[in-house]
């Protein structure tokens, strides 16, 4: 390994690898520093499964067109307008070409997976999932001659006047070293696994968060960049967070700990009280609001409660539901007040109006006279066994990041663009995602800005 490269990429996920491949194809010598061991390489990419790209016509795997305009409208809706329109529209335009470019890098698509038909038109799924996608990108990068180091912890960045000079590196076997490079691509993700950092914004509640990805997503590069004068973007409390099973491991439980059963029942907090309209919108459109909702409840815990009639309406789950023949028995197992849970369910059942249940549309099964209402798919919970999943906030990734230009070039706090520093992926997701989420966007941000960052970093290095 030489200690001087044209392009240094810090990070090892989708954005980092797209950057490394694009830079290498642009003629640059490239080193990728992945902080995790080889098995855990790739940050959150290893848990992903699809990417949202605009396309003007159906493809072999996509069931219909998804225009740039429609993508933009979806983004506008989920973020409530908290997005950088120039950057976002640029990303959406570039996403069209990514559908083909990523295949040229060895990634394979497949139609939407079982249980995700609602994404069949908008999202392209990776054959074999996110780790298969990563494996393909690594194979391509290595074939092209990109150097990759695992377990490579960057301890410091040498930056002068917005110009990257070198990175200090600590490696378990080979010791400390300094790596100089003409350009830097920072693609090292958010700080979701850094509980101490999360606590700065969330307080003690962060102790009850479960982290859906590896423990290596600590945001140390993001912190260094912000400390060294790169402009910050995004609200530090904003993140992609879903409700996941409370029995999941603290880190890296991935996709299989999620629950998509909210719309089929009710959700109560530790006082056995409902707190939000469970029937607001079709899964997965509002899937990503439940993490924050549960985070706002006492002790950051909630329980999805349903009955035996709906068990086969959603995907099978990793953890079996907790069951009781009576509401009181179930409450006992959940350590909830039986009387309070019985009251909540009795009131809910009484408020359910007759309707025609259809979970594929916004149906007319509603409640009347309770707060909060359940505005779709409201059906009485009355057929034992009664079932429940305990859920906690599962943090996928944070939105706090470095501000960038359309060229993925970092902006310094004084508003000037950096001479040679680029960012891609979650570390700059906040430019596009002020809040909210639409499935597959994280990977779009990673691939599009990764490719741009790599191309621009190589161009800078070769000039």
């Amino acid at each position: 390994m030489s200690s001087k490269y044209d392009v240094l990429v810090i990070g090892g996920g989708n954005a980092a690898l797209c950057a490394a491949i694009a830079a290498r194809r642009g003629g640059a010598s490239v080193l990728v520093l992945e902080g995790a061991p080889k098995f855990y390489r790739g940050g959150n990419t290893r848990h992903t499964r699809n990417m949202r790209c605009a396309h003007d016509a159906a493809t072999e795997i996509l069931t219909g067109p998804y225009t740039e305009e429609e993508f933009w409208e979806d983004l506008l809706r989920v973020t409530g307008g908290q997005t950088d329109e120039v950057l976002a529209r640029h990303m959406i335009r570039e996403s069209k070409d990514i559908l083909n470019w990523i295949v040229e890098q060895g990634v394979r698509w497949q139609p939407s997976l079982g249980g995700t038909l609602s994404l069949g038109r908008t999202n392209s799924f990776f054959l074999g999932g996110g780790r298969a996608m990563l494996n393909a990108l690594y194979l391509t990068a290595e074939r092209l001659g990109v150097d990759v180091e695992y377990d490579a912890e960057v301890t410091d960045l040498v930056i002068e006047d917005g110009m990257f000079l070198a990175a200090r590196l600590k490696r378990p076997v080979k010791g400390e070293t300094e790596i100089r490079a003409t350009s830097l691509v920072a693609a090292a993700g958010g700080f979701e696994a850094n509980i101490e950092w999360l606590k700065q914004y969330w307080g003690e509640a962060a102790d009850n968060f479960l982290i859906r990805g590896t423990p290596y997503n600590r945001g140390s590069i993001l912190k260094m960049l912000l400390d060294k004068g790169v402009q910050q973007v995004g609200d530090p409390t904003q993140c992609h967070a879903v409700a996941i099973d409370a029995r999941a491991p603290k880190f890296d439980g991935g996709i299989i700990t999620r629950h998509d059963s909210v719309v089929f029942g009710i959700v109560v907090n530790k006082h056995a009280e409902r707190f939000y309209d469970e029937g607001e919108d079709i899964w997965p459109k509002r899937y990503a609001i439940w993490g924050r909702l549960v985070a706002a409840q006492p002790d950051q815990i909630a329980y999805i409660i349903f009955d035996s009639t709906v068990v086969t309406s959603f995907m099978p789950t990793l953890f079996p539901p907790i069951a009781g023949q009576t509401i009181a028995e179930l409450a006992g197992k959940l350590e909830l007040d039986p009387a309070a849970l019985e009251k909540t369910i009795t009131e809910f059942n009484a408020a359910v109006r007759p309707g025609t249940f259809d979970h594929t549309i916004l149906d007319d099964c509603v409640t009347e006279g309770i707060t909060p209402p359940k505005t779709h798919w409201a059906r009485r919970i009355e057929t034992p066994p009664y079932l429940a999943y305990p859920v906690r906030p599962g943090i996928t990734f944070t939105y706090l990041g470095t501000r960038v230009t359309k060229e993925a070039r970092m902006l310094m706090a004084d508003g000037k663009p950096s001479a040679n520093m680029f960012a891609a992926g979650e570390i700059m997701a906040g430019n596009v995602l002020g809040k909210g989420y639409a499935a597959g966007m994280g990977m779009t941000i990673g691939s599009v800005f990764g490719r741009i960052a790599g191309r621009e970093a190589a161009r800078h290095a070769k000039n």
Binding site: G114, G128, A132, G254, M315, P316
Partner: protein
């Protein structure tokens, strides 16, 4: 809970995988899994035999070891598959010993049979054994054709009977609750899927064997072995027809159909098993079912020996080595036949049955 520890583990994994489904596009196992929410012993044995061991789901899995979820589908299903062979074998008493000592038993069987033929010949006339015999009927100086045919027909028919009984038990266990008869379309589909090894392809890029790169050549070697076996079987069948219908006795000239088929098949049966054995020796230990090593290697060795002795016999049939080589060749074939119902051979039968079942399920679901 299931009957065995490995089925408990397979059940655990299918529960993990069914809540993930990322591997759905890789092969037939995961779509078949998705048609179920709970798994009986028969379901798990069906999925185990549907798995071709391509390794892709292990390399692609975010939860494979060292992850705490410890998801290793190829290895778990390989062990479950091997145990299913024993569970369905007929008669059951013979299965366990073979699984453990397949190679030794195969070789002993082959050598015993060769010794028997040699002894048989020597008893008749010591000079026959190392004599040079040519022309029609040369082989039968060692052992009269009818004796040879009776011996091998008996071995072959026994193998067929045992296999039919075993696969019947398997089919009953995995089959649909009512009837369970396979329709023609599903059988045709399964013949195509098995014939081209459709699911031994790692989801398209190729299979994994020794590491995380899809560079595995087992599919090629399996084709050489399987089609080599079929060609050799065809050669024997044609020769039998020649003998009884046309009254033409072996050995046949090199250009004649049985010899052409046998030569092509023999080449496949030499190269294919060498490739498969090499792949097995190089296989990532994480994916390997080491308990079935004896059974797997025993079958590969018998196929290889059948091919090798057959080819040597063809090359040296006009020399004094013909007698011993013929005895060895017949010994290998005999051992192959009688060990078929208890060895790795059954993988083809069970997997075919699983593919028929899968084709049926797909047609029903469509």
């Amino acid at each position: 809970m299931h009957g065995t520890r490995i089925l408990d583990e397979a059940d655990r994994l299918m529960t993990v995988c069914n809540s993930c489904r990322y591997c759905e596009g890789l092969c037939a196992v995961f779509p078949a899994m998705e048609m179920r929410r709970a798994f009986s012993d028969g379901d798990l044995n069906y999925l185990a035999n549907l798995c071709h061991g391509c390794g892709a789901c292990y390399v692609d899995c975010q939860f494979s070891p060292p992850h705490e979820f410890n998801v290793n589908v190829p290895k778990t299903l390989a062990v479950a598959r091997a145990e299913s062979y024993a569970a369905y074998a007929w008669p059951g008493a013979l299965s366990g010993a073979f699984a453990r000592n397949g190679l030794v038993i195969s070789i002993i069987a082959a050598l015993s049979m060769a010794a028997f033929i040699l002894g048989f010949a020597a008893l008749n006339d010591r000079n026959v054994l190392f004599g040079v015999h040519t022309g029609p009927g040369a082989f039968y100086r060692l052992m009269p054709h009818n004796a040879m045919a009776a011996l091998f027909s008996a071995a072959f028919l026994y193998a067929v009977l045992a296999l039919v009984m075993s696969v019947r038990a398997f089919w009953r266990d995995i089959g649909p609750p009512i009837g369970g008869r396979a329709d023609g379309g599903s059988i045709v589909q399964a013949i195509r899927d098995a014939g081209e090894l459709r699911y031994l392809h790692g989801g398209g890029v190729g299979c994994y064997n020794e590491d995380d790169k899809p560079t595995d050549r087992r599919k090629l070697y399996h084709h050489l072995t399987f089609y080599g076996f079929i060609l050799c079987f065809g050669a024997t069948s044609v020769a039998t027809l020649y003998h009884y219908l046309l009254g033409r006795e072996a050995p046949y000239p090199w250009w004649d159909l049985p010899v052409v088929l046998g030569t092509l098949g023999g080449i496949g049966l030499i190269i294919g098993p060498i490739g498969l054995l090499t792949a097995k020796l190089r296989r990532d230990p994480a994916l390997l079912d080491e308990l079935s090593y004896g059974m797997d290697v025993g079958f590969i060795a018998m196929l290889f020996l059948t091919g090798l002795t057959g080819m040597l016999l063809l090359l040296l049939r006009e020399t004094s080595a013909m007698g011993p080589l013929l005895a060895l060749h017949l010994g290998a074939v005999f051992a192959l036949f009688i060990t078929m119902p208890y060895g790795k051979f059954v993988h083809g039968i069970y997997r075919f049955a699983a593919l028929v079942r899968y084709a049926q399920e797909r047609r029903t679901a469509a």
